[in-house]
């Protein structure tokens, strides 16, 4: 006779409805010895101003241009952009149908979060975070109004372990003339789910009363008695380690009280509570291993053209959400490797999302560096 299944003990697969992929969870493996590479510890002793940092106020960048003496935030075009502004050259005739090329254009912007070289989102004030959110909204609207732009990707890449070359707090905004692979796939899954015949809860619905996969999911997590994957929530936003999380301490951050297609749809109350939860999530991250926690963060929302709150189209079925993908596994110097079976077959994790959420819930919301003082 078969045993009774226990998701904290037995290997199993979980389905990710956003990318239509599975992840294998191997909770019984948590006890195996760690013999792999250990990363250099991240420096936490940074000066408030670094004369060699091209993002500190008044300094000169690698391309020879000068970074203004800004007071709060600063936005400028990346000196080494991955895509160039339209018009693009015309596509050539391909020598074979498997060798086609699509010229792609766009703009790459850099957003400096704060003049202080030594701070990160986790140590900025909620007012500072509100300024960053306003910058995100205005660049989203600005680039989203430019001819030919189909997607505006706001993201932050934090930490040397993620390949980020400069600790000065900053993020990037890449705007493209094509809808990127991951966003296009998510959109298809939002649309497919909106037509699904699953029995739905009393969760908020998308446009025209259609079911939204993330509204349904967030509502479910918040209302489960155990709330075992919820890390933190406030009136409008919730941070969960998603059921289908791939990264050990992955977080999905999203509004759960109503369906919201983009950051340009946020009310001022929703922006304030966005800043609040952003602060709480990143403080818990830093406190988990008492380090400046590395991650990639991305804001996912409906594609361009922008939509207005009074109008709606099919793309409004996309629900605003942020992904946090941190590489750390069990300490400040031991990371997860995306390699081997994961590159060749399927994503796999050992620690369960519920165990990760419990560890993050147990962290303080006072930053460890400020608690010491």
């Amino acid at each position: 006779m078969a045993e009774i299944f226990d998701p904290s003990t037995h290997p199993h697969r979980r389905y990710n409805p956003l990318n239509n992929e599975h992840v294998i969870v191997s909770p019984h493996r948590n006890k195996r010895p760690w013999l792999g590479q250990v990363e250099p510890p991240q420096s936490t002793e940074l000066p408030q101003y670094d004369p060699a940092c091209y993002l500190c106020p008044g300094n000169t960048r690698a391309g020879g241009r000068k970074t203004e003496a800004y007071k709060h935030t600063l936005i400028f075009e990346n000196d080494f952009a991955a895509v160039l502004p339209p018009p693009m050259p015309e596509a050539p005739v391909a020598p074979h149908h498997l060798l086609t090329t699509d010229p792609v254009g766009g703009v790459c912007d850099v957003l400096i979060f704060h003049p202080r070289h030594d701070l990160t989102i986790s140590r900025l004030s909620v007012q500072d975070l509100q300024r960053i959110i306003e910058e995100w909204i205005s660049i989203y609207v600005k680039r989203g109004s430019q001819e030919g732009i189909k997607h505006v990707q706001i993201f932050e890449n934090k930490g040397a372990m993620m390949g980020c070359s400069n600790p000065h707090p900053h993020g990037q905004i890449w705007s493209f003339t094509a809808e990127p692979t991951i966003l296009a796939r998510e959109k298809v899954n939002f649309i497919d789910y909106s037509k699904s015949i699953h029995p739905h809860s009393s969760a908020p619905k998308g446009p025209h009363g259609k079911p939204c996969v993330l509204c349904e999911y967030a509502h479910t997590e918040v209302n489960l008695e155990s709330a075992e994957r919820v890390v933190v929530k406030n009136e409008q936003w919730v941070a969960v380690v998603p059921w289908w999380a791939y990264w050990p301490f992955e977080i999905l951050l999203l509004p759960y009280h109503r369906h919201i297609p983009s950051i340009s749809h946020l009310t001022s109350e929703e922006k304030t509570s966005f800043a609040d939860i952003l602060s709480k999530v990143t403080k818990r991250y830093d406190n988990l291993f008492s380090c400046s926690f590395p991650y990639s963060m991305g804001i996912h929302q409906r594609p361009i053209p922008l939509s207005l709150p009074e109008e709606t189209d099919e793309d409004d079925i996309v629900h605003l959400h942020l992904h946090f993908s941190p590489p750390l596994l069990r300490s400040a110097t031991v990371k997860k490797f995306m390699a081997g079976i994961e590159l060749m077959a399927e994503a796999q994790r050992d620690i369960t999302p519920e165990q990760a959420a419990a560890q993050l819930r147990a962290c303080s919301e006072i930053h460890y560096m400020d608690a010491k003082e």
Copy 2:
């Protein structure tokens, strides 16, 4: 008027027909300065026998079991398997349709390539490689004949940079009771292409004369006058940096002279030339930056059940191929980071596949460590 498009200068997207994704190529960015993390150099001074290595002949492993005193290769079950043998516990009733769990079972095997602790595939003799290929075929047939197994994934994860904890030459074989995400996606794309209406070349065809996307692709690359993405080829096999490569020096290694669904379909001549090209590819890799080149390698083939050369079913449309995914970017200590825009939007590369192939073509097929002697 628009400029004339030049793929070695202008940013563009390329389509990957195996996973239905795009990659952005930004060749104009090659000149930007490198300010990111530098990896510790890999040790090349290894002993032929390491008493602390659990894969060296006669030594004891972490779980307490003993590694036999083998002479050529050795295969054993992983002491810390990610999946456990069937029967699996029954799936529980999910509290919500977005919270379903599928128990997954299987077997994780380890294959030691050679008794010498200090060698790698690149430095083994072609006869040694033929023994490894025979082991791969026999484990594929053995696990593929076991009740419930749906896929057998053969792979090698090489180098500390890929999270590999032991330099002793070895690979792994994970067999699953479910078809993994990446393989399932590739199979769908093989099937879709077989029904496509593209005009096809004189390339080999899949079962029932249907077009095979990889036979068509390999035939095209081999027959292009420039052969600009071909790294090396022999009578049966070709190694190309694929048109849609994501990793800087990614290689797709596959038979191009006939359609072959799995390694169990290989003739003895095809096995010999497989060993030959495996040696040539890995020698060029090591010679590129004069280091033990890290990579993940995976053998992709039709799912289980096994098929026999005399019979055929729809899954035989899958064409045998190997992916090599190496992280290095511009030296033995500078790697590519899969982060930021790539985790959040779309894969992106700077150096073009054609430039990468030219660099690998320029490498010697005599290993740098043997050339010194």
